[in-house]
Symmetry: C3
Subunit: 526 residues, 3 copies
């Protein structure tokens, strides 16, 4: 429903929605060149939208991925693809990158995510022989003297030069530094993680149960110059071990999901083994392992060797600010103030905490908006997210999305939704239940009501500053027009027109259910 994303903020602060519309000038600049995509794809949507379930599942050693049917029409119209990923306990989602940026919402569980921003420094560093104390000392040294300290240290080791200078530094590395890598982000239920196009990432489930996330890829994003599929370029792993189809999925598809299937190998496997070995200065045997042609574990593997040893700060869940300070020091050590902007960009934000809701209607529910004003990396991703929770029988106010499509995923409960096209045709009228997804196209009108168990959803929108226009209620379209215009337009009395305009008073986005339901609702409320 995208639903009041911004409307929301406005209400809580007793300001107008307009403060959130201001970035319109900018955000339109940032919008996707989506016209190309929408070209013909949204035509089909005029006929019928249906609640989507995943149609294809790819099993791996320690988890599975379920793909939503991207040929359904509504996902193509929105220019997105979607998948639900389940990582079993101690499972590792192997590193890959895509030509499209993506946003993922953690539906359940916790884990560690490493997003590698190409060109950024390895700010988590561990020296081999050094004690913790020495590490800190070294850290201070680097903080003061940049990399010079490190180099001085290395050169003082006075190693023999066997194969030229680069060999020396390699040896030096191998001995003084046990490992170094880019920062690691911890995630848990309710977190949104942003992954830019072309940036590889991996995920490790270090929690007690399964880690489940719903991911949406914005394939019509300007950052994607390739084609209208979300391709995964895997840096590791072999052919996927098994694949089960659902619902009579045809075999002739050439979509990405297909590519993600049985014919897919990691990109290293495409290189000549000898050339790869030489380029990496490793043995042919190691290169062959990297290519993983005989690896049957699939895309999600079980971590062996007594768990994954990840270097990171001691506290269970450090704040991003803390991590950024650490990264900052590293970046500063690189003698480079500029790169902090991107290298230190926060990639995660929690949208489930009720205390952080942007809109809250006591008898209706709440909505949390995550746009580029809250998480600047979304300016790059050009997407935004809404998280909504509605009480039983509460009403989702009629509205339309001004500048974005919305892919709505139900995380719990259910809602009855109606979506209306430009001809006034009802293209969707049905229930959206937990695990299902539906697209509400730009400009289409939507109205809904939560089921008896309430309704919770996460909505992925194809603009980093998605806006919507409520039809009734506070700051709505009808409220903005003179009562006399409405009276003449609808052929009603002026008094009726005023009731239409002001019937919902100051309510916004999520309306309380009718009085009869209210007692039940209050009883049901936590």
């Amino acid at each position: 429903m995208s639903l009041t994303s911004t409307t929301t903020l406005a209400t809580m602060k007793n300001t107008s929605m307009a403060s959130l519309l201001v970035p319109l000038c900018l955000c339109f600049v940032l919008l996707r060149g989506a016209s190309g995509l929408g070209g013909g794809s949204c035509d089909r949507i005029d006929r019928r939208i249906r609640a989507l379930e995943p149609t294809r599942r790819v099993d791996s050693e320690a988890g599975h991925t379920e793909f939503y049917d991207e040929r359904d029409g509504q996902l193509a119209c929105a220019g997105v693809t979607a998948a639900r990923i389940t990582i079993q306990q101690n499972g590792l989602l192997l590193p890959s990158y895509s030509n499209s940026p993506r946003l993922a919402y953690v539906v359940q569980g916790k884990g560690s995510v490493g997003v590698v921003i190409p060109g950024c420094p390895e700010t988590y560093q561990e020296t081999s022989s050094s004690s913790q104390q020495e590490q800190e000392q070294e850290h201070d040294e680097r903080r003061r003297g940049g990399r010079r300290g490190e180099e001085r240290r290395r050169s003082s080791e006075g190693e023999e030069s066997e194969e030229g200078q680069e060999e020396t530094s390699r040896r030096s590395f191998e001995q003084s530094i046990r490992d170094e890598h880019q920062r690691i982000t911890t995630v848990r239920q309710g977190d949104v993680v942003a992954i830019p196009a072309g940036a590889p990432f991996w995920v490790h489930n270090d929690g007690d149960g399964a880690l489940v996330a719903i991911a949406v890829y914005d394939v019509s994003n300007n950052a994607n110059q390739l084609d209208q599929t979300s391709r995964r370029f895997r840096l590791a792993g072999g052919q996927t071990s098994s694949e089960r189809r659902r619902e009579g999925e045809s075999e002739s598809s050439e979509s990405e999901t297909e590519r993600g299937g049985e014919e897919s190998y990691n990109i290293l496997s495409g290189f000549d083994t000898e050339l790869l070995a030489e380029s990496m200065r490793v043995s042919r045997d190691t290169a062959r392992k990297l290519q993983g042609r005989n690896d049957k574990r699939g895309n999600i593997v079980r971590v062996r060797r007594g768990g994954l040893h990840l270097l990171r700060p001691a506290t269970e869940r450090v704040t991003d600010e803390e991590m950024m300070r650490g990264a900052n020091a590293g970046a500063a050590a690189a003698g480079n103030g500029v790169d902090e902007a991107l290298c230190l960009m926060k990639l995660r934000e929690n949208v489930a905490d009720p205390m952080k809701a942007d809109l809250y209607t006591p008898n209706g529910g709440r909505i949390t908006v995550l746009n580029s004003q809250k998480l600047p990396v979304l300016k790059l991703i050009k997407m935004s997210v809404n998280r909504g929770v509605m009480r039983r029988n509460a009403i989702l106010a009629p509205h339309w999305n001004i500048n974005a499509h919305a892919a709505v995923y139900a995380t719990s409960g259910s809602a009855r939704l109606q979506v209306v096209s430009s001809e006034g045709r009802r293209v969707f009228d049905g229930e959206l239940r937990r695990g299902q997804m539906v697209v509400v196209p730009q400009s289409f009108a939507v109205l809904g009501s939560a089921g008896d168990e309430g309704f919770a959803w996460v909505s992925f929108q194809t603009s980093d500053d998605a806006m919507n226009a409520p039809i009734v209620g506070k700051s709505s379209a009808l409220r903005g027009m003179p009562a006399d215009v409405l009276a003449n337009a609808f052929g009603v009395s002026r008094e009726e027109a005023r009731r239409v305009k002001f019937g919902r008073g100051q309510e916004l986005a999520i309306f309380s259910p009718k009085s009869g339901d209210r007692r039940d609702m209050l009883a049901a409320a936590a």
Copy 2:
């Protein structure tokens, strides 16, 4: 013809055109992702362009809409659709919004336009019992104390709470405020009005004759993520009452114009009546009226009940500045400085006033340019407008549009135009007469001469800072090259090359006719 839009300014100020080219860097950023559209659509234009007349007409109770054939090829190439709207005296064009931004030029008449910017405050407010004096007092109060004054006043009314807090505020509203809505803009002949994508608007003809406007929709705009048609989402009104086709229009079209036709209802009609009634807190009977399934008046209705009561300042035509100050007070009252940028954006500008012409050639004519530097909302719309008037037999200098297509509509008189494609092929050679439209595609060369009655036009361009390059005259392409290069290129003498370069001296954009015509012309001049 887009025609020297900017060139123009340069001349008058004796500066170069370059000051207008500077925003190139920026404006390219803002350009439409038009490549998607242009993909194949402009191929057809290589064969032949013709002067377009409307091909389809939809009649309503108090006016009619004439659509230009969007399947002609040239409009598709430019990525625009066009329609001419006629509203009879006291007619009301019902509120609707579109997935595309649009610009309209008022060819004739006057009226009131209400553009609702979703999320902006209702800055025109009228309290029920208050006299004019009280209103002003209240206005001052709000100006000083923000909305707090209003709320204090409401709460002091001490109403009984029947159905909870929101009910109270609704009642309070109904009694203290007779009506409130967003600002209303008056328009008259020669005005350009900009309507952003997703923003609903309505128009009332409060003049003495018909109100006629030509509207162009930029469907390939980045703001449109939906598809390559300009869809109208109507907020009110029923099925259109009648429709007449012209010129053998085929029945199989699935274009927007079709959708705007007999099968179209307003978006509220697509919702379940009961759910709609509940969401608005109105009776089922009222909801049914809103859905308008039995309304046969069409899209333009006759205002009844003794005219439209519109709350607005006393002066007939207030300046936008005055209106903005008013709105400003309201916005400021909302305790929010940021939202003024968009909410207060001027949406109208007059381009017909001869005193405001940017280019004036005494014996040739004048051009008025309206780009985003003059009307900032055009940055959002990504379109611009030229208004031109040529004397009889004056010459439209040969030129090409650098960064935009131009849809040229003749408002009076006629001109002979020639348009030339990349192969040097003349794709258009004919007259453009009052009421006709022709597209001059980006990069295509154009040259013309006004007819015996002169020529007046308005040109809609698909960039908010459209530029063109004159081939000869001041600041022209040939002027910018060494005479010796031209001599060798054209195989002429150096002296001939200099005549080619300097033949038109300092003339720019509109050239005076040849001497023989001049006497007539001077006689004809006002």
Copy 3:
């Protein structure tokens, strides 16, 4: 290979690549709305990429143009077209403009290029009777007093007014100014020249041998609203004299290359001769010559009349800074500070000078990056260039292009290249030899090794700030991940994972060949 463009800089300065990633936020904004194009075009690329040779050649009087087959799939995927232009000694490439921006690399020779930026002042001026001394004096005067000095001078000549004011100024022009035009840029081997969309340009070979350039047109650029072909709009010249086809090129093509063929005339030829003559105030006979219908010299003509007389500073190769100061004075004279930004924009930069290399590996080679940070006009063009030189058997590090396609043209030597798609399929595995071109699509992985004669190339990328991600080596994807993640991902020991990460030590982009080759290489080095 696009090849480490930016990576490079990072290394040499011992900073991270990140400083070069920062403009990501901005550059994505500037990216092409390429989704439209890529739509289906890149699908074909999954099957096979091949090294391209020109397939069609158009001969002219003093040179010829060779077009690369734009229907091959890989050029369409990248959204570019390419041509190699050869201008014989004293040949003149006639002025033309295009709907697409382009970048050209001078492979061989030297010449003069005039790019006319529409609307910018003619800053190279020569008065007819004035001696050099007078010219300088006049220049000073203009510098001080703007154009007023010039006008004062003209009016003091007290000419008779025959046909009104503009006639006077024309005469005045003809007598006081022998010629004036926009600046001329000298180019030589290794220069890159940027030509914005819609800006006409001409080239004169004033060197001792042939001038050869490879040009790439970015047809999917946002600046192009027309269609997915790079159309040439020629301002002069006639039908091309001859055309030879190669490799069974079919006759049915309707592509631009076709249009550039025998059916093409200059745009002036498309106008009515009489109207053209009148618009230019030249004789019908001169107009007919401009239209060039009988001109058989083609697109590149031989300069006659004792060479081309070009007004310009005395020094053989003035710096752009010097030229810009000159232009500056002119622009300032126009009383206009703003337009300097675009009018004075540098359009040329040398990328062949080894001393200017951004990356240099003693045993490997060097890369010079030209992006919008070095040449700001590239922000407008939305392209960038890499120039690379590799020693024999050196290794092109495995990497992928993050945000751009790369069209790689081999200028000398050869390399074995492997390109891998998302499924791990090797879509290209072959040699790229001098004169051949290959496209490395966005996200696709590439790895290569130079042949026995080394390898030199120029890579045109479809982003003004193209970035790539190395897979191994310094600042690489694998280096950014914890060794334990790699160990589990690849199923190797932790020690092997560390070798994979650190095997190439601090090497970046171009790796030295294996030890066995090194002696040869050192011997071969200059």
